[in-house]
């Protein structure tokens, strides 16, 4: 089994928890569209409950921010070997245009480089056409002591057959 296959099998086993294990992602209705080592595609369905400007019906920028953070985090997680969940160090977003009312937003994130504990990720958010982006993001992630300790607790619970 190659290292990438190994990472892929760990990603596949954790995939159901990537949204279900994060209350905020559940509330925003995130959906995983694709997850391979160093690459993540994730969508946020349009919801009237999450509108930022009732007049135009446009989704709040916060939904796009959270979606980009989550997708970038997943790309960094795979890029770092899919063992420890990294924490966001920084997230920079350029808002190119508002997402169109009624359309789902999709974020496609790629881990450009990972090195030891740090991963650099770039992502594009769009509402159907990636060549007409809603926003682009660049982020850095790091495996921290807090995230490692949390992961360790999760492994213990799992090994004892418990649920999170």
């Amino acid at each position: 089994m190659s290292e990438d296959d190994d990472i892929q099998s760990r990603l596949d086993s954790i995939a159901p928890l990537i949204v279900a294990g994060s209350p905020h992602a559940v509330v925003l209705g995130f959906r995983i569209d694709g997850l391979t080592p160093g690459h993540a595609v994730m969508s946020a369905p349009y919801s009237e409950e999450l509108v930022g400007d009732p007049e135009s019906g446009i989704l709040h920028g916060g939904v796009v921010t959270a979606l980009l953070d989550h997708a970038c985090g997943m790309a960094a997680f795979g890029g770092l070997g899919a063992r420890d969940t990294p924490a966001t160090l920084d997230l920079r977003i350029d808002y190119m245009r508002p997402a169109r009312a009624g359309l789902d937003v999709t974020a496609e994130a790629t881990c450009l480089k990972s090195h030891g504990l740090v991963a650099f990720v770039r992502a594009t958010a769009h509402d159907g056409d990636i060549d007409d982006p809603v926003a682009i993001a660049q982020a850095a992630f790091m495996i921290t002591k807090a995230s490692q300790a949390a992961q360790e607790r999760a492994r213990k619970v799992f090994s004892q057959g418990g649920k999170l």
Partner: protein
Amino acid sequence: MSQVLLETLMAAPYVTRFGVRLEMKGTELTGILPFDNDLVGNPLIPALHGGAVGAFLEIVSSGALLASQPMARLPKPIDVAIDYLRPARAQDVYARAIVARSGRRVANVRAEAWQGRTDAPVATFHGHFLITPESTHPAT
């Protein structure tokens, strides 16, 4: 001060959904994001979602801009940069924003979010917003 637009900003479904509030004391505006399990990003730490904290800082920054001068429209974010300094714990989050520069078209805003101690921020924010000051946009 743009009272009507401030109310519009705070009445958006997303903003009310997560219970964001703004409190004005004198000339100082403080944003409050009350803890809610729906804000948790990683229940294992447990830590609030980075996106929720980022969105909160963006709302408080827009609020600070609207509180600082009369505007004809809501500020629109052009770009934002968020530094995450500590995990945001399962507690209320507070934030304050400073308008570093406000021109005729664009404003530069800095903001900080904290939980227990103001000198231990959980995240800092820096963003540019497209603005429409009332003075450059006479009522027609």
